[in-house]
């Protein structure tokens, strides 16, 4: 029997930001944009739906979301119809699950969507609801739900142990906002200056406004299909989902697995496993989408993914290594900082950008990119999810 392989073949998203729309309105817009990317595919050609969302239960009072979405977007799934709840990594988790469903023969063509309606009619709930995003009985009452305080501590620890500078944090924001200028569907298209970053309103020092991704409404979708179906449906170069991994070593912050808060062994473990599964090393990855929920995150992520030695993420970013022409162009569509972060939507948006990069049609194209990577962290930095894509399948 021939080996079944999973490809990502199309992607689309609605406008992200503060939207005058419900999550179901946005799901319909994203589905339309996704299928516009692949004219050969109609809703009746899709046999599965995965919908990544964590807060739809709280903010839109909807449990068992997938059939509701499926009906609105004209799908009648016969292989899978399920919601995936992994907070900020829901989208990339759903892509990994779709890979398994396709490779196992359970599904042939899966619509993988993700997104959130985070803005509530009264704004108090936007912050308050974050108590549900961490271990409720232990970290919730310590205000670990809204993440700025945890990441401010992470930034201070990284500065203390490795000498990372405030301006190096700013360099992450400057690079990603620059990439975001050419992404009209992202939340911001703003030319940011160093002075603006350094004098912005404090959120939790050392993190200011532009070191933190915004809260966003938004939905995105991709199509994951078997190689055989992909060849029928598109003439574009095939992009294979080569491998991935999700690692979770703790939940309560007291059980943090690192030597200090700037040390992320759970991310190193996820990276190591993902590289093994994709039969590839960090050296071969040419473009990456990382979880820049905060500027400090991307600095630590380039280290833990193996793009630079541990502790050198600050100078690595400051020297332009994440910009076009640098070692690893990162967040080439603007990342979370500029596009926004409707939790379950983010991994899908990242998948769309890697699809475009590997097909040579990205706005900020990395010349000749053949291997790309996406990374998400979720909750109080308790899970790391990595997906590796390539123009060639794993042999």
């Amino acid at each position: 029997m021939a080996i079944r392989r999973a490809c990502i073949i199309a992607g689309g998203m609605c406008q992200w930001g503060l939207r005058e729309a419900s999550y179901l309105d946005m799901a319909q817009e994203a589905a339309k944009d996704c299928l516009a990317d692949i004219p050969g595919l109609k809703p009746k050609g899709i046999d599965g739906l995965l919908y990544a969302s964590t807060f739809v239960g709280r903010r839109s009072c909807q449990a068992n979301t997938a059939p509701v979405v499926a009906e609105r977007i004209g799908l009648k799934p016969t292989s899978i119809c399920a919601r995936v709840d992994v907070l900020c990594a829901g989208g990339s988790t759903a892509i990994l699950m779709a890979k398994g469903l396709v490779e196992s023969g359970t599904s042939d063509v899966v619509m993988v969507m993700g997104g959130e309606k985070l803005y509530t009619p009264e704004r108090w709930q936007v912050q308050y609801d974050e108590i549900a995003s961490v271990d409720h009985d232990w970290d919730g009452p310590q205000n670990m739900g809204p993440p700025p305080l945890l990441f401010a501590m992470i930034a201070k620890e990284h500065m203390k142990h490795y000498g990372t500078k405030r301006t190096e944090l700013a360099d992450v924001s400057l690079a990603n906002y620059d990439y975001g200028l050419s992404n009209p569907k992202g939340q911001f298209q703003k030319k940011l200056t160093l002075d603006e970053v350094l004098t912005a309103k404090d959120i939790a020092p050392p993190l200011g406004l532009y070191d933190c991704c915004p809260l966003s409404d938004g939905v995105a979708g991709v199509i994951v299909a078997s190689e055989e179906k992909a060849k029928e449906l598109t003439d574009r170069p095939l992009v294979y989902i080569r491998g991935g991994s999700q690692a979770s070593l703790h939940s309560v912050t007291a059980n943090w697995p690192g030597k200090h808060l700037g040390d992320w062994p759970h991310m190193r473990l996820a990276a190591q496993k993902a590289y093994e599964k994709a039969r590839i090393s960090a050296n071969e990855i040419q473009v990456a989408q990382m979880h820049d929920c905060f500027s400090i995150s991307e600095i630590i992520e380039v280290e833990e993914l193996g793009f630079c030695p541990k502790g050198e993420g600050g100078p690595f970013v400051a020297s332009g290594q994440t910009r076009l022409g640098g070692r690893i162009p990162t967040n080439t569509d603007g990342g979370l900082l500029s596009c926004g972060h409707p939790f379950g939507g983010t991994g899908i948006r990242q998948g769309i950008e890697i699809l475009k990069q590997l097909q040579g049609r990205a706005a900020n194209q990395v010349a000749g990119a053949a291997f790309g990577l996406t990374h998400n962290l979720s909750g109080a930095n308790v899970e790391h999810t990595i997906v590796i894509y390539g123009r060639e399948p794993v042999e």
Binding site: H136, D139, P148, P205, A254
Partner: protein
């Protein structure tokens, strides 16, 4: 309340929006953790079979899956490793500034670190290496229904506070 959009829920308790744990023994097998807090004790569970100390407290040992667990007292004092403050975007349940620290409970403690709010401290005063101690406080009570009976359950929780010099 009529403008809240859900007038028929006035006076009703909904755990969906409650930041604090449901501590009542009818709903939680580690209710004793909170009883111990009331007595000023900061406790968790130790496995009688393999000796593993787990935090937060469990009903099984996560190492050997034994359910023979005993209560274990953790240090009530620690040192601040890193401290941060937040003035804006503070959830309704807390007052600004929120002070949160990564605390070292000491080399001898099987639970070496934890994150806690720092309370009873003026803003800007808590520094690295400061000594802090367990602080227990009341949190809002809520009703529970047990059979036909409805009663009110008192609750406590904990944070850390500066040790007075």
């Amino acid at each position: 309340m009529a403008a809240s959009g859900i007038p028929f829920l006035e006076g009703k308790y909904s755990p969906t929006l409650d930041i604090w744990p449901i501590e009542a023994k009818e709903f939680n097998r580690i209710y004793w953790f909170y009883d111990n807090l009331r007595e000023g004790r900061f406790t968790t569970t130790k496995c009688r079979d393999c000796g593993h100390v787990a935090y937060p407290p469990r009903v099984i040992c996560p190492e050997c899956y034994s359910d023979k667990l005993e209560q274990f007292d953790l240090p009530k004092k620690g040192k601040v490793i890193t401290v941060v403050e937040k003035w804006g975007g503070v959830p309704l349940c807390f007052k600004a500034p929120l002070i949160v620290a990564w605390i070292d409970l000491g080399e001898g403690s099987p639970v070496r670190h934890l994150v806690s709010r720092i309370i009873n401290a003026p803003p800007g005063q808590t520094k690295e290496d400061d000594e802090v101690q367990l602080a227990v406080f009341d949190v809002p009570a809520h009703p529970i229904e047990v059979g036909q009976e409805k009663r009110i359950v008192e609750r406590v929780f904990f944070a850390f506070e500066p040790v007075k010099k």
